[in-house]
Amino acid sequence: MNNRKENDGNRTKRNFTLKRFLCTGRELLVETRGSLHTSRGKWGLALFLFGMVVGIYKALTGAELDEKQSNLFFATLWSAMGLVVLSSLQNYKLLYLLPMSRKEFAAGQMQKAAWIAIIILGVITAQFACMNFGMENFWQNVIWKGIPVSISLSAYQIAWIKPIKESETTGTKMYHLSFWVLILDVGIGFLNLMFVVDSWNMFHWTLSVLNYGICICATLYFYRKIAFVDLYYDEL
């Protein structure tokens, strides 16, 4: 993924700019608001709020760190899934009808995923803040656990869409590999968040570095899969 210039007639456009990122945020907001009119969107919001409330409540009331850890990931996962359900009611046909290239579309999805990662990071940070860490430990956990885990979970936003989700007619089973990449990505995030600690050792550092590596590779993999796939709507 790069900030690729797209030659569009006589003009040249960049796919990754602050303006586009902000526009995507606005689009996400409007779409989320729209999806609240559907029962699916309402369930998504309920799941998001439930995960957030349970996570913060357990972080505040859990007696031991072990108990807090076991709740943290599941609460975050519920929030992340709720968020993705809430904001991922795409109509694939329209995406093919709109005048945009596959790379532009992929870039848009990446930016949506980035917004979701920021929201999930906010949820995780709030939970960490309720866990009574020291300041140094708090920031270490945010940087080495909160950020990579939120990127890992936001990959759902990209993996949700066709052709990653499914491709029935070309004979290429794209979904299987993507499924395992997603499992690996979320799995390492799960492990990383399971070991929220107040004292760090080599094992914890290794997990966090692995989480960073895998979530970045998975995100790049999904981006490539959307941006360079040569499939038309009727072939999905």
């Binding site: 729209g34 329209l94 009808l97």
Partner: protein, 281 residues
């Protein structure tokens, strides 16, 4: 003047099966062209090919001189799409749908869109899901007009509409479209096409039967009626015939010269053409 749409030997296939083969079609600016054919003839596939939902496996398709195969994004900007199925996200309000999707078009104006919505009496605060079928079509037309397309594609949008609205809809189209915008309209309602269309393309089993102006159709095809003996005498020149209660009827692809006086010769309706050219094996 450059044609709005030019399709040259275009085909689309899936695997080894051709869905549409060697279509040739030219649409001049300001022309209203109907596309007719039986179910499964390839009308929707043709529309999918034009708007980039299907791959063009052979030939080329140019929209305002720009190749769809090589520059699909530029081509899509020149199209307004009015389909029967719900391809917009229905949980958005009319106003928000305009804001979100209009951002993808360079020439889109939200003010123009809202003006058309007001003109067509579409409530901009209403969710798309809650719009009536007719208002949903008007919304699609308002959105299309707001980005100033050169071609409007309508794939059987009127199928579930009452006859009064259909007539109002066609009048509305005539009111708002200018000479720089052409319309390609797939429909089974051939009587309405006869009233409104400037040209017609007919498809059958994935192949093009003809693509002619209404005047050319009138000149090239004739319906002849007469006794069985009279039609037997003409049988080599007939494209198809059928027996009625008191006479027989056949379709000619000629000017009908030499038939006047002997037989009753008339202009075929589009339904007649579909029946004789595609009605039977």
């Amino acid at each position: 003047m450059e044609p709005i749409l030019q399709i040259e030997n275009a085909s689309t296939e899936r695997g080894t099966v051709f869905w549409l083969r060697n279509v040739n079609l030219t649409l001049e600016p300001g022309i209203f062209m109907g596309v007719i054919g039986r179910n499964g003839a390839g009308k929707t596939t043709l529309f999918h090919m034009i708007c980039g939902l299907s791959r063009i496996s052979g030939g080329d398709l140019r929209l305002a001189g720009v190749s769809m195969r090589h520059e699909p994004k530029r081509c899509k900007r020149e199209m307004g799409i009015i389909f029967d199925d719900d391809y917009f996200r229905l949980d958005l309000s009319v106003k928000h749908a305009g804001i979100i999707y209009g951002a993808y078009y360079d020439r889109y104006s939200q003010a123009v869109f809202l003006n058309y919505c007001r003109k067509f009496e579409v409530d901009i605060k209403q969710n798309l899901r809650k719009l009536s079928k007719g208002n949903y079509m008007k919304f699609q037309l308002a959105f299309a007009l707001a980005h100033h397309p050169k071609l409007i594609l309508m794939d059987e949008p009127e199928a579930r509409l009452d006859p009064v609205f259909r007539r109002e809809w066609m009048n509305l189209l005539y009111d708002v479209l200018d000479d720089t915008c052409s319309v390609l309209f797939a429909t089974h309602l051939t009587e309405e096409l006869e009233q409104y269309a400037d040209a017609v393309t007919m498809l059958s089993k994935g192949q093009q039967v003809f693509s002619l102006t209404m005047l050319e159709l009138e000149e090239q095809y004739k319906i002849v009626r007469g006794s069985k003996e009279e039609l037997d005498a003409l049988s080599e020149r007939l494209l198809g015939r059928r027996r009625m209660e008191h006479y027989e009827e056949g379709l000619f692809r000629e000017d009908g010269e030499g038939l006047q006086g002997k037989n009753s010769v008339s202009r075929p309706s589009l339904a007649d053409l579909m029946y004789y050219l595609d009605g039977r094996d």
